[in-house]
């Protein structure tokens, strides 16, 4: 994103709309630090600039990934939906993506607030790749890897800054303890934060199969989260019969 210095009156109205503090007032004119800007579009859409000085410059590769990962209204080609993730557990009753005995894992790097450079995303992806996970093919982050087996990203992307990037994959439940150990280690090696979540089918008896693994690892778990109530049709089981 850029600000036309000839139009800007230096009112400062746009400053609080930048989630990564990339806008500053320099000599009474607002200026965007392009290295820090994640191309989320928030200032353009919501700051209501009184003189329309904010404009979207043409984005070329590799900077385009900033918009894909940061602008909520950008539709990712891989998933076909807006935002930076996939349908994940939200449609699990019709896709059967997460089956009993497995957990879906999403590591949202940069969330909340801090954003991330892609080199930190790579660091985490390479760490979890030790578990021989298969990264979610339709997640745009996976398409940014030069080697999805090792979690290596394309070199030209590593310094790109995005608001967040979701590393998504599935594991067998018994792999969770090792995954948690790996994440605890890599969490100490990055400059940013990540938000971690696990998705799982609820057992036929109403139990949550991931609960004991999380408890045994001594991890904090939120009292709130997402529940798919199974109303989508056709049900995955019905489809396969």
């Amino acid at each position: 994103m850029q600000i036309d210095p000839d139009l800007c009156t230096g009112c400062g109205q746009c400053l609080p709309y930048c989630p990564v503090n990339a806008i500053s007032l320099e000599e009474d004119v607002s200026e965007i630090d392009l290295d820090e800007c994640a191309e989320c579009g928030n200032c353009l859409r919501s700051a209501d600039c009184p003189v329309d000085a904010i404009y979207q410059q043409e984005l070329v590769w590799p900077r385009t990934v900033r918009s894909i990962m940061s602008d909520v209204l950008t539709i990712a080609v891989e998933s076909g939906i807006s935002g930076r993730g996939t349908e994940e557990m939200k449609t699990n009753e019709v896709t059967g993506r997460f089956k009993l005995g497995f957990a879906g894992v999403a590591i949202e790097v940069g969330r909340p607030i801090l954003g991330t450079r892609m080199y930190d995303v790579e660091k985490i992806a390479q760490a979890v790749a030790q578990l021989n996970v298969e990264f979610e093919k339709i997640n745009p982050v996976t398409s940014m890897m030069s080697d999805p087996k090792t979690g290596k990203f394309k070199d030209e992307l590593l310094n790109e800054k995005v608001l967040s990037a979701i590393i998504e994959f599935g594991v067998k439940l018994e792999q969770l303890p090792e995954l948690f150990r790996i994440l605890e280690k890599v969490a100490g090696e990055i400059e940013t934060v990540f938000s971690l979540d696990v998705a799982t089918r609820i057992g036929p008896d109403g139990t949550v199969p991931t609960a004991s693994y999380i408890q045994d690892a001594g991890l904090w778990i939120a009292a709130n989260g997402k529940t798919n109530v199974g109303l989508g049709r056709p049900l995955y089981q019905e489809k396969t019969q």
């Binding site: 909520v72 935002g83 349908e87 990540f194 997402k226 109303l231």
Partner: protein
Amino acid sequence: MTHTLHRIGSAESLKEDYVVLVMPSKDINHEGSGPKLRRFLKMALEAGAVKIGDARLGNQYHQGGIDNLLNNVEDRAVVHGVFKDQDALIRILQDLKAAKLGLSVVVSGLFDEVEACCNRTGLKGHTINQSLGRWGRTDRLPPQEILEINTMCGHGMVTVGLIEEVIEDVKNGECTPEEGGERLFKPCMCGIFNPHRAVKLIRTLAEKGD
């Protein structure tokens, strides 16, 4: 897409915060889903939703009003209703069950409360998504009370700077907590930010002083 997950807050505060998402699945049931999604949004308004939203095309302000939001819904959209209490949640779940839209329905909120509402409507959880919190350089994050407001927009569009500005304006009598809540809702493009809950949090922070 985990934009309604990872909301932070006390149980008391989260008891006033539920998001119901409805979406089709690509290549399985997305064709012709637009009218069904629109029907849900109208049902949500009738059930007392605080806000409705469309993650594909933007919130009511971005689209120029609720009517435009309703008219523009596309087949591949992910749409939401934000609710502030269990009564409204039970009503929309009852209505969704009866409507048999055939689309996936996900409820974000306190698991125990959501389960209780499902039990009241004869629904059962199929799959859940649990948040294991924030890892890494959490020392760089702002205080918990700011995070409680910020995390209601999972895409981070309700910025720390804007939250602080609104609290300051309320403190100085330049706007009411209600006006502040609406100001914070506007940048949340999906329309999942809960201004009802935000008003209470803003009021508390403004009264706290420096």
